[in-house]
């Protein structure tokens, strides 16, 4: 079954810049897809459309077969809460919260009661190998560890798809490799993963690679 379908999707930003042109793409259940392309080629734009953070100017986005264009902003929020796990280059962790609390925040918008949130957050942190950093705050963690907290936060809600926008962009090679190991492991466990990367080694290794240039699929 297809998890994500872009059908002739385009995105024109206010001001007339066309960041994505006529992209048609289907991503199936359990796939690991790398999105590659030079800076400004529209990779983030495409990922935002896949994750319902933004709507296409033209064309359709379907998640699990449902057309997202018909949904209200409220419903799209719920779709993100239930189906999507985002990982960003800048981590976006809340500074004064512990790793567990950062991860647990993800479950807030799923309506999970507070008791269960903490337990699930600990489990997710263990999955990314941070079982010994549960009560650390972001400034007490290395860059690689912070990104793993962010991945745990994306995973904890058991999303349909994990969307990662240059998750290793702020990390050195070793830490980046650690992050890819985790993504790879998640893929092997059956999670659908879409990752934007400039890392050519990884892009060569993944089962499927999508190249963008000037907003078009190559």
């Amino acid at each position: 079954m297809s998890v994500i379908e872009l059908e002739r999707a385009s995105k024109t930003y206010p001001g007339g810049l066309q960041a994505l042109r006529d992209v048609t793409l289907t991503i199936g259940q359990g796939e690991l897809v790398a999105i590659c392309g030079p800076s400004g080629s529209g990779k983030s734009t495409m990922l935002h459309l896949m994750g319902t953070l933004d709507r296409p100017s033209e064309g359709r986005v379907r998640l699990l077969g449902h057309d997202m264009a018909t949904l209200s902003d409220r419903r799209l929020s719920a779709v993100r809460a239930h189906w999507i796990g985002f990982v960003f280059q800048q981590f976006f962790l809340t500074p004064h919260l512990t790793a567990v609390d950062n991860v647990a925040t993800r479950l807030l918008y799923l309506g999970v009661p507070a008791r269960r949130r903490a337990a699930a957050a600990r489990e997710a942190l263990e999955r990314v190998g941070l079982g010994n950093r549960l009560t650390h705050r972001p400034h007490e963690l290395s860059g690689g560890e912070r990104q793993r907290v962010a991945i745990a936060r994306a995973l904890v809600a058991r999303p349909v798809v994990l969307l990662a926008d240059e998750p290793t962009g702020n990390l050195d090679t070793a830490a980046g490799a650690g992050i890819f190991d985790i993504l790879w492991k998640l893929h092997e466990e059956g999670t659908t993963v879409v990752v934007i990367t400039h890392n050519t080694d990884l892009a060569e290794a993944v089962p499927r690679r999508v190249d963008l240039l000037d907003g078009r699929l190559q």
Binding site: H48, G51, L53, D54, H66, L71, D73, R74, R75, S77, A78, V79, R80, A81, H82, W83, I84, F86, F88, Q90, F92, T94, P95, H96, L97, T105, R106, L108, Y109, L110, G111, P113, A114, R153
Partner: protein, 396 residues
Amino acid sequence: MIPAPARLSAWDLAAVGLAGLRARRGRAVLSALGVAIGIASMISVLGISAVSSAGLQEQLARVGTNVLTVAPGHSILGGQASLPLESVARVSHVPGVVGATAIAYMNGATARRTNLIDSAVTNGVGVAAARLDLLATLKGTVRSGTFLNAATARYPAVVLGTYAADRFGIDRPGRQIFVAGRWMTVIGILDPLPLAPDLDATALVGWPYAEKELGFDGHPTIVYERSTADRVTTIAKVLAATANPEHPDQVQVSRPSDALTAELAARAAFNGLFLGLGAVALLVGGIGIANVMVISVLERRQEIGLRRSLGATRGQIRLQFVVEAVVLSLCGGVTGTIVGLAASLLFAFAQGWPLALPAQVITLGVTAAVLVGIVSGLYPARRAAALTPTEALATG
């Protein structure tokens, strides 16, 4: 199935709001302070007003509103007239009157601490002869010593009103003071007389002594009468003619409790002014909160974007910021209420008045704070919610 957005529990909302404030403590305290000052001033005005009107009401209830005074007006020839000799006796025979008494001012007589003090320095203390039933009719009490009695009224004995005693620095009987050109012994000091405040600044001597030694002609200056409550208005109509049948037009009848009643009313008007000032302070506090929240929204665009990407709806973002503003305002409001109540308590204690703090005052403080929070949080919250997820995330 397309999922539906989850509803945040009140508990979770409060926790999110508090967490936002904890991260910026100093700023939170400062902006809550504005609301605290506003609420504190409003609560203390209301509290002090409640305490003082309860105090006045208690006074009124104690002394009663059924006393009338008869005083000479100005005679046609000018100068102060006095009342006829028999006026007290006549007034006491009016149906409904339960007691009539009088005082007479000794014109030209002074009371001084010693004879060494210049007679021009009177300290505003006058000298009057008093009938023995004066205190009973006015429901006055002695602070220390005794009032005049049949025996002491014939001797150079003096009873001081509370203000007069304070002026002379006398707090217990026994001392000699210089009254009407001779030494007299202070035998008692009165508590304040709410129905005859003039007497607070008066030295009272015995009626027979004044007639015998001070050349007093026996004409009363002021007659006080107490009647049954239902007869007060009827008696007021006939009192002038009764006291001075020949010149009823030269007599002024008044109800001294009216002054207390008027004071109660005046206080209410005065309160309005201070409440207004408190409301202005509260408004400024609210604007302070709105200001801080607007800045907070600008600084926290990434957090907003992140929360949107985690599945927060616009409504939930809006609510988060409103809750933050309300929590902020409520912290100020609770502090202000406590300070305001403490001020009222202190005031009641200092005045020796009963504690009369209506519970509504507390409810009012808290409600006002919540309202200020909601109103001042609304605009920043709308701005936060208006951001699209990508706009918010793109910052910085």
